[in-house]
């Protein structure tokens, strides 16, 4: 059983109009017989059949314009049983005419152009396509003679990435909102939060950071947020009770410190992927880890361990001008540390008032697991570490 398809009569032919059939169902045909006429942009062309057999069914009526590759008729080879394809039982419905249907994508996708010429693809383009997961056969070449080159693959990869993101986000957003809703509702229902806040003078820290960053290339510069993450990790060393989970109705502190870093997504929603072993990472490693996390979070390419391993969450809304964050704990974690904006504030010290850059750090903690005393110790340790940047 063979399908007689609209042939490609030139590399640039996309569709053809069937003008007339020279055979009817039941007619015997031999390889090479002319059985139809097709109108193309280059004129009317007679079409031959490529197998011996009997015309079983005409699928496309004269006057219809169909894309290259569309089955036009079913040819039953000699010796085959008479059969009618299930999907076209009954009188053959005329194929939808392209002229009325708009883009050919609605119809059967055209097969690869006639293999009379091997596609021109540069070796580097082929390799890049394989690296990026782009189907090289779908890339349109703009090089000499239509050759596919690296730039073409890069364009195709961008388009593909953009399309995937759009479709994933459209469906993901409601899903994400739902899961945030469930977690936060559970948190506020089940976790008795207590909140503590402290203001920290960052003048020494920021000037240390400035000197430190002068030594670095722009790419390697550290952000204050990195110092905060590291200080949290260090402070957890002093107050390990805040690091871990409340689950199965009991307090389960964890030894490893994996800090969930809240990343808001541009189109709404938020994910707090884990920076693993934040206490053991240098500032530079943390910076790199955070940069990678943010990038991959926004690209939707997080690893599952990063999604589930966090033992505490740090959220920083300072860039939005917030003074202090009183957060909702991400269950089953035990605490959430919030940082507000670093602002210049009047600051009393040694009986005098000066202006200092100050940040408000807050702790939201689970009262089932810890008490205010531990929370206070934690914030105190956090303050100490954050004011001794060289020790971070």
């Amino acid at each position: 059983m063979g399908e007689f398809r609209m042939p490609s009569l030139g590399a640039d032919m996309e569709a053809g109009t069937l003008l007339l059939w020279k055979v009817q169902p039941g007619d015997r045909v031999k390889r090479g017989d002319i059985i139809a006429e097709v109108a193309t942009d280059k004129g009317d062309i007679e079409i031959e059949v490529f197998e011996d057999g009997v015309v079983e069914q005409i699928l496309v009526e004269p006057g219809s314009k169909v894309p290259v590759g569309t089955p036009l008729a079913v040819i039953r080879s000699d010796g085959e049983q008479v059969s009618v394809p299930a999907e076209s039982a009954g009188p053959a419905a005329p194929q939808r005419a392209l002229s009325e249907m708009g883009p050919p994508t609605e119809l059967q996708p055209p097969p690869r152009p006639a293999a009379d010429r091997r596609p021109r693809i540069s070796p580097a383009a082929r390799k890049l396509a394989s690296d990026l997961g782009v189907d090289i056969d779908t890339v349109r070449g703009t090089g000499p003679g239509g050759a596919v080159q690296r730039a073409d693959v890069e364009r195709a990869a961008e388009t593909k990435g953009a399309l995937r993101e759009v479709s994933e986000r459209a469906t993901d957003r409601t899903g994400m909102r739902r899961s945030i809703a469930a977690a936060m509702a559970r948190s506020n229902r089940e976790i008795p939060h207590y909140y503590l806040a402290t203001s920290i003078d960052l003048s020494a820290t920021l000037s240390w950071l400035e000197t430190e960053n002068e030594k670095r290339s722009i790419k390697e510069r550290l952000l204050p947020a990195i110092l905060m993450v590291k200080a949290v990790a260090k402070a957890l060393g002093a107050v390990p009770e805040l690091n871990g989970y409340w689950s199965e109705d009991r307090h389960q502190p964890q030894e490893s410190i994996h800090i969930g870093f809240a990343v808001s997504l541009r189109e709404g929603g938020l994910i707090a992927p884990a920076i693993h072993h934040a206490d053991r990472k240098s500032l530079d490693e943390l910076m790199e880890a955070m940069r990678g996390l943010i990038e991959r979070t926004r690209a939707g390419r997080l690893r599952s361990s990063e999604m589930t391993d966090a033992t505490i969450t740090v959220t920083n809304l300072g860039d939005l001008g917030v003074e202090a964050v009183y957060g909702v704990i991400n269950p089953p974690q035990l605490a959430l540390v919030g940082f507000g904006k670093i602002t210049d504030r009047p600051w009393a010290e040694n009986g005098a008032v000066g202006v200092r850059p100050v940040v408000t750090a807050t702790l939201a903690a689970d009262h089932r697991a810890t008490d205010g005393r531990q929370g206070a110790q934690f914030l105190e340790a956090l303050k100490r570490h954050l004011q001794e940047p060289a020790s971070l």
Binding site: S122, A124, P144, Q149, R150
Partner: protein, 326 residues
């Protein structure tokens, strides 16, 4: 300090003569006349006829004498006027200098250095102007170096003399008058690695000898159009430093080779083949070559210039490669 290529080379020879009694210079007109390109001017007066030796017009004889001296423990520098004349000594170079180490089962090194002028552009016509260093690079057993810069003119000889095996130094005759800065402490340089003279992301220009400067000029012109060409001086044609030029093409994905030799069977053909063998999947388009026209070098200046690679041809070839290939 500003010096010419010629002075840098002379200084290299002088230093070698001063430092090592086994070193001597031998060749046609190297003594009283001061060298056909005046490289050895003044050395006869300074070092005497024992160490600056004029020879008869007998390339096979004095290259053979150089091989014998090298085998006997000396460190000869043999000067041949131009690469065209070196063909008279081809038997000595290819059948003797290049083979003794192998044929003696590793017993006899031939620590011989042969210097010769190469290249066209000075209206010396077809018997003095060819670039046959690519031919010599075909021969196992010898090293082929092509100093293009003042630093290499100053520094390659010492390294070549220190090498236990024959090294051929090809000095493009258009470079002798080229001036450049040379650090007072300049000395021996390696003869193993190619050198990136200009970094660029769009295309790799692989070249050597006098074509280096044409390529650098072309790269400067291309930069104004927004095309960043990486320019690599191969420096040594045998053994080729594959790692450097393949690394470059791995970054740029495009290669244009500028070679003053003839295209067919040239060093540019060898480089192109290696790119295909070792960097096939990095190439985003065919390797292009700019070589000398396949004619005996014309005498008439305009024809000679038309036959040699030039800046315009490099610019237009690169432009074409970059613009049409992605």
């Amino acid at each position: 300090m500003e010096v010419t290529y010629r002075e840098a080379m002379r200084e290299a020879i002088r230093e070698a003569l001063q430092k090592d009694d086994r070193v001597f210079l031998m060749g046609e007109d190297v003594g009283r006349y001061g060298g056909c390109f005046a490289v050895s001017k003044g050395l006869l007066e300074e070092f005497g006829p024992e160490r600056i030796r004029d020879t008869p017009l007998s390339e096979a004889a004095f290259v053979g004498a150089g091989i014998g001296a090298a085998l006997g423990g000396m460190r000869p520098i043999v000067e041949i006027m131009t690469v065209n004349f070196s063909l008279l000594a081809l038997d000595q170079i290819v059948n003797n200098a290049a083979t003794y180490l192998h044929m003696s089962g590793g017993q006899f090194h031939v620590p011989l250095v042969i210097r010769m002028a190469t290249g066209g552009g000075k209206q010396l016509a077809a018997q003095h102007s060819h670039s046959l260093e690519g031919w010599y690079a075909h021969i196992p057993g010898i090293k082929i170096v092509t100093p293009a810069t003042i630093e290499d003119a100053r520094g390659m000889l010492a390294t070549a003399l220190a090498d236990p095996d024959p090294v051929l130094i090809f000095e493009n005759s258009t470079l002798y008058n080229r001036k450049g800065q040379l650090a007072p402490e300049a000395g021996a340089v390696d003869i193993e690695r190619a050198r990136v003279h200009r970094a660029g992301r769009d295309v790799s220009l692989l070249t050597y000898g006098a074509s280096l400067f044409k390529s650098l000029d072309a790269a400067a012109a291309l930069a104004e159009e927004g095309i960043e060409a990486e320019v690599i001086d191969l420096r040594t044609l045998r053994p080729l430093d594959d790692e450097t030029f393949i690394g470059s093409v791995t970054r740029t994905h495009r290669a244009v080779i500028v070679d003053e030799g003839w295209r067919s069977g040239s060093i540019s053909a060898e480089i192109s083949a290696r790119l295909m063998e070792k960097a096939f999947y990095e190439l985003d388009g065919p390797v292009e070559r700019i070589c000398s026209a396949e004619v005996p070098m014309p005498y008439a200046s305009h024809l000679e210039q038309a036959a040699l690679p030039n800046v315009e041809r490099i610019v237009s070839t690169v432009r074409n490669v970059v613009r049409t290939h992605g």
